[in-house]
């Protein structure tokens, strides 16, 4: 058992025992190799289900909205950032949550590992320090986990929780401020190439809405794709409607997206959803000097303005 797992369990046990929290939301082992999953602990005797692995990759802040009880949340950097936005948007009250902060060293990119072993069935996984051993029926392969992190985790500059009440483990060193080489590289492509890429990615989408439903900040009671009067977006999988869904969803997350990757990770079809979000994260930073989910005090960029905001994009005859 890792030290972090141990410390998370102890923190949860204490909070439940002292009745400081009625519910602990954290991670447990999944039912399959390479999988973790959210878990909901209400009794002290269940605390040992909690674990911390390279697969504790779901954004659990998603489960906070509309709860009545006092909740302790096991939060890595991105969970805590989502929580900051939720608090700012009055979806969660700060007093209602006890944050068990976990410094995060990145989560493993499951699809990439699966491709690495040639899509063979993985039956068992062992994790020790930075070593990951995968076993199948007729193979065994070991990896350095640091080489197989999600792209978003490699680029992450908020690995430590930005907000916490209890800290487990030791804070890790943060990377230097992120630049956006991916966005710049994509921008440099021909317009036709960019459109073709997005059309192809959109073409994979099956409109299951896993991206939206996994997103900690997509909490609208009625999503714009679901309204019928008027029906803004058609329900079928044609390029036009599907792309408009992704564009507007990305736009609704402008200045709010904390780059946790819950969307792309939930997507069963491997659609490059973050392509759009990353562009908006960059523009929000460049144009309005704002970064989502890092400060409780700073106003959200689309809820405020500045007289000197950029204007060059308008037509000036």
């Amino acid at each position: 058992m890792s030290q972090l797992t141990h410390e998370i369990r102890e923190a949860a046990r204490k909070l439940l025992r002292n009745k400081q929290a009625q519910l602990v939301i954290g991670f447990e082992e999944g039912s399959l190799p390479l999988r973790g999953r959210p878990c909901f602990i209400r009794k002290e005797e269940d605390v040992d289900r909690l674990v911390w692995t390279s697969f504790s990759d779901i954004n659990v802040a998603r489960y906070l909205a509309k709860r009545k009880e006092k909740v302790a949340l096991v939060a890595k950097g991105c969970d805590s950032r989502a929580l900051v936005e939720l608090i700012k948007e009055n979806q969660v009250s700060r007093d209602q949550v006890i944050i068990i902060g976990v410094p995060c060293e990145g989560m493993i990119d499951r699809p990439r590992i699966e491709a690495e072993v040639g899509h063979k069935a993985i039956v068992e996984v062992e994790e020790t320090e930075n070593r990951l051993t995968l076993k199948g029926r007729d193979f065994e392969k070991a990896f350095d986990r640091r080489e197989f992190l999600y792209e978003r985790c490699k680029a992450c500059d908020h690995r430590n929780p930005v907000l916490y009440d209890v800290l487990v483990g030791q804070l890790v060193e943060e990377k230097v401020r992120e630049s956006f080489p991916d966005v710049e590289a994509f921008t440099a492509l021909d317009r036709e190439k960019r459109w073709a890429y997005l059309a192809e990615e959109t073409g994979k989408c099956i409109r299951c809405y896993a991206c939206r439903n996994a997103c900690p900040l997509c909490y609208c009671p009625e999503c714009f794709v679901d309204t019928s009067q008027p029906q803004w977006v058609g329900k079928s999988t044609g390029l036009s409607d599907t792309l408009v869904f992704h564009l507007v969803r990305a736009f609704h997350l402008a200045g709010r997206c904390v780059a946790c990757g819950a969307c792309e990770q939930a997507c069963p079809m491997g659609v490059d959803i973050r392509k759009l979000n990353r562009k908006l994260v960059k523009d929000v930073k460049d144009l309005f000097n704002y970064e989502a989910g890092v400060s409780l005090d700073e106003a959200s960029p689309l809820a405020t303005f500045c007289a000197t905001d950029p204007d060059q994009f308008t037509v000036n005859p």
């Binding site: 039912s31 399959l32 909901f40 489960y63 299951c208 896993a210 439903n213 996994a214 329900k235 069963p268």
Partner: protein, 343 residues
């Protein structure tokens, strides 16, 4: 001849067989699109990927596509003209689907066939030959055995291929399949091959770790208000992954896509996991939360369909297990329901 419903296909003849079929068939087979393994129309035998397990999408996509035109219309000056697309002429082959997917077609047959036949499905179905690939190496999420199928089951297939290493044993499971075996690519099956196939079949079955879905489940499902449902569904995101990728889920919506005077009526997949599925125009929703919707999914599959169509709405393919974004494992749900006493 040992058995007239069995034959041998040497692996080196697979490509020429497929090329041959491609001449006058629409052939759908597992193929890679980037990292995705999809059951899709192939252009060349070389696109086929038979070894990598099940495709991301299920075989239902071939017969019950996510989006399908029911008819086109033109409505002008008090006149309406409706045009129904003519049924496809081309024969199609689903090549290399897994036995779970083939078995799933039986449920779709029961739903879309039967009373008031669904012409869109049935037209395609009668033109379709299903050649499945037995699973000699079932994955950790597979549980077909728990639902009456098996890694080498022939239910729903016309032919089943079983990999012996250098060749396939091919068994026909229908008259259509038998007729197909007349193709000169196949050779006569020999005793040794058949015995080897049987051994592999047994091994594949014993390598599986079926979920223990007890008889008690049936009785337990009678208790709609079981408090266990709340605990079971706490992590559910309410997305449509499980139902859209499921080989048996078949719920759909019908809607119009319109320009000013012309348009089309389409049907598209829908999911019982979405609030809009049952929400009435007044805003009232008989299934207001993930709990009721998840329960409906389980009930429909394991209680209603067995009564109504004499077959569970689940073939144990495990797609919902591997693809659920939060790993809400249906096997565990069923096990818990089979185990616990109703309260």
């Amino acid at each position: 001849m040992i058995r007239e419903d069995a034959g041998i296909l040497r692996k080196e003849r697979l490509e020429s067989l497929l090329e041959d079929l491609l001449r006058d068939h629409l052939v759908l087979a597992p193929t890679r699109k980037g990292e995705l393994l999809l059951l899709e129309k192939i252009e060349s035998a070389r696109d086929v990927v038979l070894e990598d397990g099940k495709t991301k999408n299920s075989a239902k996509s071939a017969l019950f596509p996510q989006r399908e035109r029911m008819f086109a219309y033109r409505a002008e000056e008090g006149k309406v003209d409706i045009q129904v697309p003519p049924p496809a002429e081309e024969k199609q082959i689903l090549f290399g689907v897994r036995p779970c997917d083939a078995r799933g077609l039986l449920l779709l047959d029961a739903v879309f066939g039967g009373d008031s036949r669904d012409p869109y499905y049935v037209d395609k179905r009668i033109r379709t030959l299903v050649v499945s690939m037995a699973c000699v190496n079932p994955g950790p999420s597979c549980f077909c055995l728990s639902l009456g199928g098996g890694p080498c089951s022939s239910d729903g297939s016309d032919l089943v291929l079983l990999d012996l290493g250098d060749r396939y044993v091919v068994e026909a499971a229908s008259e259509k399949g038998k007729a197909f075996l007349q193709n000169p690519s196949f050779e006569e099956a020999d005793e040794e091959a058949m015995a080897k196939a049987e051994k592999i079949r047994k091994e594949a079955e014993s390598a599986m770790n079926p979920a223990s879905i007890a008889k008690a489940l049936e009785e337990r499902l009678e208790h709609v208000d079981d408090p266990l449902w709340g605990d079971l569904t706490e992590s559910c995101l309410g997305c449509g992954v499980c139902t859209y990728l499921c080989p048996t889920c078949h719920c759909f919506d019908i809607c119009d896509e319109a320009a000013a005077t012309t348009g089309e009526r389409i049907r598209i997949w829908d999911s019982c996991q979405f609030p809009l599925f049952t929400q009435e125009a007044s805003g009232f929703n008989p299934r207001p939360s993930e709990k009721e919707r998840f329960r409906q999914r389980i009930m429909h599959k394991f209680r209603y369909l067995p009564k109504d169509r004499h077959m569970a709405g689940c073939v144990g393919c495990g797609r919902c297990v591997t693809e659920c974004p939060v790993n809400l494992d249906i096997r565990e749900v069923l096990e818990k329901l089979s185990r616990a006493e109703a309260q």
